[in-house]
């Protein structure tokens, strides 16, 4: 049986349709994917993302332990800051991609739901014994508030102190007796916040934000629109666009790899790959014909398959078929014309720069 988040009853009352995702029963859609997507681009949306995994590093050596696992630089992160990073195998394959929070002398990793168990095992088996690592996923509710009106909603909800947070900043606050860890982060390309609290307080924060959002066009948003929103930004989805067979350099995530760090898992391999260069790259594809590329569809050039679509959909904001795919470096330059096989028929597409969508309100 899939697990439910503490907000499941709320979603039912809101008429959500559910889908099983990574062992969780999650709302995939409420009023309609396009309506929800548009609400986030133009007003605000509220998401239950309690299925994500929260792993805490505590005690002496917490920072070093966390830093040794990831490609980005956690040791130079100050308390109150968040960064996006990958965690790699010795072969440079991505074990997971996530946000890391420095909270005083502790570090919080927010893992993908599909990777929480695997990631936690990986972390346990690759950290020194004295480091204290704890999986608090079961005890944490995570709510995301995203969209250009997110600030207005927070103000109305009595959380104006969050407005001074910079992008990728976080702070712990108390609201109506509720302890909340809040960051100015998100997976949509819009301004927004991600908020964490204990499951004991189940739906109190959700209710507070939901009520406050009434005058601002706030809508509940399911996993369907969460995916189209992240996709338009070219953000990778683990399991689709990245996994242990892909490296950060191939995925366009080289900016999260800090080779000047003396030691981290996968460093040797990544140093070599950086020197030698990659053979394939994750690129954006824009359809030049009326067709919608989907995950797994072959990308061809001169009648030969040169890659496969890793994520593809109709873009609600840009109103056309778009895709991401790994293509050989020779075919990865923006403007290169390729074809995508849709039900056996070739349709023209052009390699394009990511993100696809550039009008987001993200600060």
């Amino acid at each position: 049986m899939p697990r439910e988040t503490p907000l499941a009853q709320k979603h039912r009352e809101l008429g959500a349709r559910f889908v099983e995702f990574a062992g969780w029963l999650m709302p995939v859609q409420y009023s309609g994917l396009v309506e929800e997507h548009t609400a986030v681009r133009e007003a605000a949306g509220i998401f239950d993302v309690s299925h994500m995994g929260e792993i805490w590093f505590r005690g002496p050596g917490a920072i070093d332990a966390a830093d040794g696992l990831v490609t980005n630089d956690i040791s130079s992160l100050r308390s109150g800051q968040v960064l996006y990073t990958t965690m790699c195998t010795e072969r440079g394959g991505i074990v997971d991609d996530f946000l890391a929070y420095r909270v005083g002398d502790e570090v919080l990793f927010v893992l993908n739901a599909s990777n929480t168990e695997k990631g936690f095992r990986w972390i346990r088996s690759h950290t020194e014994k004295e480091a204290h690592v704890e999986d608090l996923s079961e005890k944490t509710v995570q709510v995301a508030l995203q969209g250009p009106r997110a600030e207005d909603v927070l103000k109305k909800a009595g959380m104006a102190e969050l407005l001074s947070l910079p992008h990728n900043g976080h702070v712990s606050i108390e609201i109506e007796g509720l302890q909340v860890l809040a960051s100015r982060t998100g997976y949509t390309g819009e301004d927004g916040f991600e908020l964490y609290h204990d499951t004991r307080d189940s739906d109190r924060l959700w209710n507070l934000l939901f009520e406050a959002g009434r005058g601002f066009g706030l809508k509940p948003v399911g996993l369907g629109a969460r995916d189209t929103l992240r996709f338009e930004m070219g953000y990778c989805l683990y399991g689709n666009d990245i996994d242990e067979s892909t490296t950060p350099f191939e995925a366009g995530l080289g900016w999260t790899v800090k080779l000047q760090k003396k030691k981290f898992l996968g460093r040797e391999f990544l140093v070599r790959q950086k020197q030698e260069g990659v053979r394939r790259k994750l690129v954006g594809l824009e359809m030049l014909e009326n067709a919608i590329p989907r995950t797994g569809y072959p990308v061809t050039s001169g009648g030969k398959e040169i890659g496969r679509v890793t994520s593809g959909t109709f873009s609600p904001s840009l109103k056309k078929g778009l895709a991401m795919a790994y293509l050989p470096v020779e075919a990865s330059k923006p403007g290169t014309e390729v074809t995508v096989l849709v039900r056996g028929k070739e349709h023209r597409a052009s390699v394009t720069k990511l993100p696809f969508y550039r009008r987001g309100s993200r600060k």
Binding site: L33, V34, G224, N290, A291, F314, P316, R343
Partner: protein, 128 residues
């Protein structure tokens, strides 16, 4: 949800309206709601052959691709060209402007195996 009395239905949620020896085909109100925003419809060409219970096209929502099944056999006599520029018509008007193809029927006895409105309502009730 609308299930017009004067139409016949398939178990895959297509509707059929009989106009002489021609069958007009589309998808039901229930189907368009289940799909959500329809963004693309792929239809056959006039003159193509249609075969009962066999796919004649594809309807795509933002995140899903579904086959369209022909309720009867015959020859494609017309396709709704308007859907190629605005597939959303299927959501707005599933039984009227959102029609998809017209089939010149080769075997009208096939109509006997389609569902009437009451049976279709029962089918949809089970899925709800």
């Amino acid at each position: 949800m609308k299930i017009p009395e004067n139409l016949k239905y398939t178990e895959q949620h297509e509707w059929v309206r009989i106009e002489g020896d021609t069958a007009v085909v589309g998808i039901t109100d229930y189907a368009q709601r289940e799909l959500g925003d329809v963004v693309y419809v792929e239809l056959p060409s006039v003159g193509d052959e249609a075969k009962a219970a066999t796919p004649f096209g594809v309807v795509e929502a933002v995140k899903t691709v579904s086959d369209l099944f022909s309720p009867v056999s015959g020859e494609i006599a017309a396709v709704n060209e308007a859907l190629s520029t605005d597939a959303g018509i299927v959501n707005k008007s599933p039984y009227e402007d959102g029609w998809m193809i017209k089939i010149k029927m080769s075997d009208t006895s096939e109509l006997g195996s389609l569902l009437g409105p009451q049976d279709y309502e029962k089918l949809v009730g089970k899925e709800l």
